[in-house]
């Protein structure tokens, strides 16, 4: 029963996503895929920046780890047919395993970055993640096996709207489960007051590291999906600017609000897409929008609230899944 409940969003999601994929003209599909990837990135970053009150600004570094791992595997296995599977199923299975491998590697990087910096209180994480983002970019640029500065091209076109949609559903379910569990309570306490949380018996270091590892892994998923859509994995995709773009989405939506991140990722992606004509002003307008928003609504669109909590107030029969 519980298992069914966990898989229900995916079971419902597949036919709906499939339908959307069938009817979307290409230029709409591009935007939708971008929206999906950005939802994955924003929601996963919110797990750290919103729920634990730490501040990571190197999400793109973990995306890179996931993107390169996934692409390396799919490039190597492009012509491999898994025994006993149809070509289509074989490709999908390889892609899934490559994405999981990417998540494992980016999660491991999250552990390596998080362990030393999350033991300490304060803003070390921001500095360390910023450094990590740059280091991984420079590292990749200098490794021929990873394509150097030009990156990996010819990445197979495996990412579809269905894949991205399922990735987004997985990310959102992960975040919701995390908040509504007892771990969620611990995370909220940490965000509120780390010393007091520790005095309640919360092992703050353990929870911060765990949240950070999970968040990094999902950043890797976003990177892997993006790479197999733009069919190119280069260091330029994963710069500090990309990290800040995701931070902007989290802040705009409200730190600690999953639904806020979903909505702001959607809005900002569509907006950036709409501004494509005015290419050189794009980032300026983006920054301007964030500044205006922060001045008028410093807690972001949603603060720490969730749409589903507001809904459950109007439809009280459904028990509230979580507390903001």
């Amino acid at each position: 029963m519980k298992l069914l409940k966990n898989f229900l969003p995916f079971l419902i999601g597949i036919p709906i996503l499939w339908g959307i994929q069938l009817i979307s003209p290409p230029h709409i599909a591009i935007i939708l895929v971008n929206v999906g990837v950005n939802i994955i990135l924003a929601v996963s970053l919110n797990v750290v920046n919103g729920f634990t009150g730490q501040f990571s600004i190197g999400h793109a570094g973990f995306m890179a780890a996931g993107a390169y791992t996934t692409a390396k595997i799919t490039l190597a296995l492009q012509d491999t047919l898994l025994p006993g599977l149809s070509p289509w199923l074989s490709t999908q299975t390889i892609f899934l395993m490559a994405l999981v491998a990417g998540m494992l590697l980016s999660g491991t990087m999250g552990l390596l970055v998080g362990m030393p910096s999350l033991r300490l209180r304060g803003d070390y994480l921001a500095i360390v993640t910023l450094g990590f983002n740059e280091i991984i970019r420079v590292f990749i640029e200098n490794i021929r096996w990873l394509g150097g500065a030009t990156g990996l091209s010819g990445v197979p076109p495996y990412t579809t709207l269905v894949w991205v949609g399922l990735g987004a559903i997985a990310t959102i379910s992960m975040a919701r489960r995390l908040v509504s569990s007892t771990h969620g309570r611990a995370l909220l306490a940490i965000r509120e007051d780390e010393i007091a949380a520790e005095a309640m018996g919360v092992n703050t270091t353990k929870y911060k590291i765990r949240a950070f590892v999970i968040s990094s892994a999902f950043a890797g998923l976003g990177g892997g999906l993006l790479g197999h859509y733009i069919l190119l994995v280069t260091p330029k995709t994963f710069t500090f600017i990309k990290s800040m773009e995701v931070v902007g989405m989290v802040v705009l939506g409200g730190m600690g609000s999953i639904s806020g991140s979903i909505i702001s990722a959607t809005l900002l992606t569509v907006l950036l897409e709409g501004l494509r004509g005015l290419d050189q002003y794009r980032m300026v307008m983006y920054a301007l929008l964030l500044v205006i928003l922060m001045l008028t609504r410093p807690t972001g669109l949603f603060g720490t609230h969730e749409i589903w909590d507001v809904l459950s107030r109007y439809f009280p029969k459904r028990k509230a899944v979580q507390k903001a």
Binding site: L188, A189, E192, I195, M200, G201
Partner: protein
């Protein structure tokens, strides 16, 4: 008598400044022990070092027979010590109820947690009335009560209280002290830091006087209440 808590030769530094100079004290089981002293004497620092919020550079802290110096506070809570800190340390953006639930964070026995929640609300009925209110909007005195009630939710053997009567109206102070006596009657040992030396010495079995990071005097509550030095320095005679 068996000491539940035994602190020996504790030194604590804040950077280069030494705040505690070889503090030693004992808290016997089922007693109320008070720590009094002027502002800056090191009372808060002592409690924070005991509950693991601060690192002591020298000395020993034994709790229920076990050396706990060097453990982190979440590990010390798990061993049965709760700390209602100075400045209350409550979660200002969470509700009263959520604060209390977090106090029972480590406990798995949901039924007895619910019972203790009831007990907490009985000790402080105002908290029951305000249970869905955001803790940051409580009055200072109510926040103080919440802090004490929340510390009790972990079902501690030893409760450290840092100035529970700070800034409260006289009737509320009375109320807090009578609740402290009730808490003690349920078998919880108390280590109490107070500016209100008079009240603290009246309910304490034993008390220590701190001055610039050292214990300068100790005795039963009654002895210290009668001592001319204490009367002059702390009771305003």
């Amino acid at each position: 008598m068996k000491a539940l808590l035994e602190v020996q030769d504790l030194d604590v530094y804040y950077g280069g400044i030494q705040a505690l100079r070889g503090i030693s004290l004992k808290v016997p089981e089922n007693q109320i022990v008070a720590l009094i002293g002027c502002n800056g004497a090191g009372k808060t620092t002592t409690l924070r070092a005991i509950s693991g919020m601060l690192k002591a550079s020298r000395g020993s802290i034994r709790f229920a027979g076990e050396q706990i110096k060097g453990l982190r506070s979440h590990q010390i809570v798990a061993r049965g010590m709760a700390h209602a800190p100075e400045g209350r340390g409550i979660f200002l953006n969470l509700t009263v109820g959520e604060n209390l639930e977090l106090g029972a964070y480590l406990r798995k026995d949901r039924e007895s947690v619910a019972k203790d929640l009831e007990t907490g609300y009985r000790l402080f009925p105002i908290l029951f009335e305000r249970k869905s209110q955001i803790a940051g909007t409580l009055s200072g005195g109510e926040q103080q009560m919440l802090s004490v009630a929340r510390a009790l939710m972990s079902r501690p053997k030893l409760l450290l209280l840092d100035e529970p009567s700070l800034g409260l109206a006289p009737q509320v102070v009375e109320k807090i002290f009578s609740v402290l006596k009730d808490i003690h009657k349920t078998g919880i040992t108390l280590l109490l830091v107070e500016q209100n030396a008079h009240k603290a010495l009246r309910i304490a079995h034993h008390a220590y006087v701190l001055e610039t990071g050292s214990v300068v005097m100790q005795g039963t509550g009654a002895e210290l209440l009668a001592s001319p030095e204490v009367r002059k320095a702390y009771l305003g005679d």
